[in-house]
Amino acid sequence: MSLGAGGLSPDRHVLPNGAVVLARQNRLTPAVTILAGFRAGSARDPDDQIGLAHLCARVLDRGTASRSADQIADQLDGRGVALSVSVTRHLLSLSCTCLAEDFERVLDLLGDVAMHPVFPDDEIVTKRGEVATAIRQDEDSPAVMAIEGLFALLYPAPHPYGRRTRGTLESLGRIDRQALAAFHAAHVGPSSLSLVIVGDVEPPRALDAAGAVFGSWSGPAAGADGVPAAAQPASRRRTIVPMKGKSQVDIAYGFTTIRRDDPAYHPLVLMNNVLGQYALGGRLGTSIREEQGMAYYAFSAFEANVGEGPLVIRAGVNAANVDRALASIDREVAGLSGGGATDREIEDSKLYLVGSMPRTLETNSGIAGFLQNAEFFGLGLDYDLRLPDLINAVTRDEVNQVARRFLHPDRAAVVIAGPYEGQEGGA
């Protein structure tokens, strides 16, 4: 069972070099998911080399001291395995799913990629070209431009959350082999590693394999991710990104909120669920999609992080409806802040959030992500067991308090990207 009375209760082991290994068995399929997270995210990019962590991830699996890029590709592909290396603000993660019978060999390969990359120059040129193309594609996407524009408004320099993870065409050109190798040496080491192994493999076997691969690795002690406090603006800010050739406008609207360790975390999770998640977009979805038929999507998303994370409201609407959609968002934001949530809404959201846990924790990748997150934020091995109580203990007053604290249309950051001219300084 994925979630019996005992919960996930993963096996957790710390190797002598500081690497943390978490293992959990799940037998639905004869497969294993491996998720190796390093505290080496884009928040650590130097100011003049934005995109460094991201390019490091792109080139990481393109050659090690003992294997060429082609050999790595052949060995992974030959087992049906696709290795993903991804970067978020605070994590550089290697992840893949393999057959249980291939587990040791695939973990060995993943370890080689993580520990001994050589960043060949020709591979850097290739991957830089791919990233440059992706940056150009982003510039053509109203959704990406709206979100990136919002982050830039919410987190002005020098805050790292305001920067593009992929970097810019200019910053990309400044990243060379030496910079990639230095970034890897400084940040990708055993003490910054949380390795999660979930699937059809018994925990002792998983821990043994992890010890064999990573046990003798040495590296620098991981420094903490320092993130400055987010700015607290006193006024509304708005950016329009005109994209005349597009069919639809993307709106991103948001606020900065709290750090993950803030006691207001669970009240904010509930508030966000009421505002823009519950059953196809919460209050926002009901107003903008269901009642007004204005958008295929209208919702909010909340992320608390090492630094104060954002609450982001999104909607995709016809250019003619932008002002009406913004007015609706303002009305729902002000309505929740001023009038508060109802008992029924809070009860419904609690039932949903608690009741959805077995689904979240059904698959290997779902469990691995949950355990990685719990480890990263120090939430404890029994977090899955405590979470229902943490959610159920939230009171209506606490939800309404965070709504009053964060939801202020006159302090919102707003980005409108797409075929919209509008008036600067307008709504």
Binding site: R27, A31, A73, D77, R79, D140, M243, A295, Y296, D348
Partner: protein, 456 residues
């Protein structure tokens, strides 16, 4: 996939109710969950002129309340059980699903029975959903790859109704009436045109009792199977070009391909694995995770050589012959002509010379692994049973391995020569124009990605 070595996973049981409803149940006791899917054998290929997009619009209407689920009680009806619900429409099928904890089983069956027989179709809701769907279409148009796919598919099919996109053409979406929506719903939403799939921590006999209680009294109806004109053989390469404001250039090469029931289907899956990396067979899950493709022929010929920043292949199981589509993004600064020349050189080479025994063996290993990976939840298991039932038979979910085993170098190479020949191709280019370079665009008409509108 069969139950395999997992003792918590029992074989599928098939039952047909007196009203013709096919019921597929599989007990999987790994997690305390149940997934319910109700499938209808109606999709965009069943739509006539003037009514493109109606299947998908009907799907949207079926989230708008029923006789016993009033409009204001739809919100939260499954969320209160921690569950999620959704639906999608594609070429050959429309489907609805709920996944929740097992104690919501009865509620899930109740929702699906109501949806089958008692939809409200209030005129105001039909109008409000018209603009939601047009917004969905316009959001899709923001993506140049979707625009190009629609144009390529329409060019490849002149006669068969796979020609038009699942979301429909904009003029039809502006015109279709409430009575047409309701009439279409009543014609196709009958138990003898449906398959109900239940997978999870349930007990077969108990499920059957509940299914009979909720669905047993729904009357069957005449099945109105639309005639689909088979696509005549293509006589020569077709080309389409889309020019819109943009920043990147895209290339698609689409070849008419075999239907899911054709033995050649598995041979094409092997070829796709060799060219672009194996995906598997689950539209709901497999195409959301990257394939193992770093050693695939097109990856090495195009991405490693800095001509493309990405390459993807899609060989999807369909009721009638559809397309094998290769999609590429040109690296910044690479002319599409150069990319196309390199891509067609590889395609021509495999059509001419075939694959090797080593490549066949590797492709089989990849596909076997993907079939394991894609069946990692009760939701995904249930999807596969129902999906295959709408295009062929649910047993195809279990027959896939045998189909792959039957592939040989010889028959794969014959398939390569047959399907990948130049005269069977439609080549599409998206050429980005600089902002302001084009006259104001009226815009071509429509989006969907392979799985049509996920999210209702």
């Amino acid at each position: 996939m069969t139950a395999g070595s997992n003792p918590d996973r029992l074989p599928v049981r098939e039952t047909t109710l007196a009203n013709g409803l096919t019921v597929l149940i599989q007990e999987v006791h790994t997690a305390p969950l149940a997934s319910v899917w109700c499938w209808y054998k109606v999709g965009s290929a069943d739509e006539g002129p003037g009514c493109t997009g109606i299947s998908h619009w009907v799907e949207h209407m079926n989230f708008k309340g029923t006789e016993r689920i009033p409009r204001d009680q739809v919100k939260g009806i499954i969320e209160r059980y921690g569950g999620s619900w959704n639906g999608y429409t594609w070429l050959d099928q429309t489907t609805y699903l709920e996944t929740a904890t097992r104690d919501a089983l009865d509620q899930m069956l109740f929702i699906e029975a109501e949806r089958m027989a008692h939809g409200l179709y209030h005129p105001d809701d039909c109008e409000s959903e018209r603009t939601v769907i047009i917004s969905e279409l316009e959001g899709g148009e923001n993506d140049p790859e979707q625009l190009l796919e629609i144009e390529v598919t329409a060019a490849a099919f002149k006669a068969h109704p796979y020609h038009h996109p699942t979301i429909g053409w904009l003029p039809d979406l502006k015109r279709i009436t409430r009575d047409e929506l309701y009439g279409y719903y009543r014609r196709h939403y009958v138990p003898n045109n449906a398959t109900l799939v239940v997978v999870g921590d349930v007990e077969q006999a108990d499920v059957l009792r509940r299914v009979d209680h909720h669905f047993g009294s729904i009357q069957p109806g005449p099945i109105d199977r639309t005639v689909r004109t088979p696509e005549p053989a293509q006589a020569g390469e077709r080309r389409v070009k889309v020019v819109r404001e943009g920043t990147a250039a895209y290339l698609k090469i689409a070849s008419h391909a075999p239907a899911a029931t054709d033995p050649d289907f598995y041979r094409m899956l092997i070829l796709d694995a060799v060219l672009a990396g194996a995906k598997g067979l689950n539209l709901w899950s497999s195409f959301r995770t990257p394939p193992p493709q770093r050693s695939a022929r097109l990856y090495r010929a195009l991405v490693d050589r800095r001509l493309a920043s990405s390459v993807a292949g899609a060989m999807l199981p369909t009721r009638d012959p559809f397309l094998y589509i290769l999609s590429m993004t040109a690296v910044e600064g690479t002319p599409l002509a150069v990319l196309e020349e390199a891509a067609t050189a590889e395609i021509d080479r495999v059509a001419r010379e075939g694959i090797t025994a080593e490549e066949l063996a590797k492709a089989r290993i990849q596909l076997r692994a993907r079939l394991v990976f894609e069946n990692d939840s009760v939701t995904n298991l249930a999807h596969q049973l129902g999906y295959f039932e709408t295009i062929a038979s649910w047993r195809m979910a279990e027959a896939a391995l045998a189909g792959l085993e039957a592939a040989t170098v010889t028959n794969v190479n014959e398939a390569a020569a047959r399907y990948l020949r130049p005269s069977n191709r439609t080549v599409g280019r998206f050429e980005p124009a600089q902002a302001g370079e084009l006259a104001p665009s009226t815009g071509p008409a429509a989006p969907p990605s392979p799985a049509g509108g996920q999210r209702p």
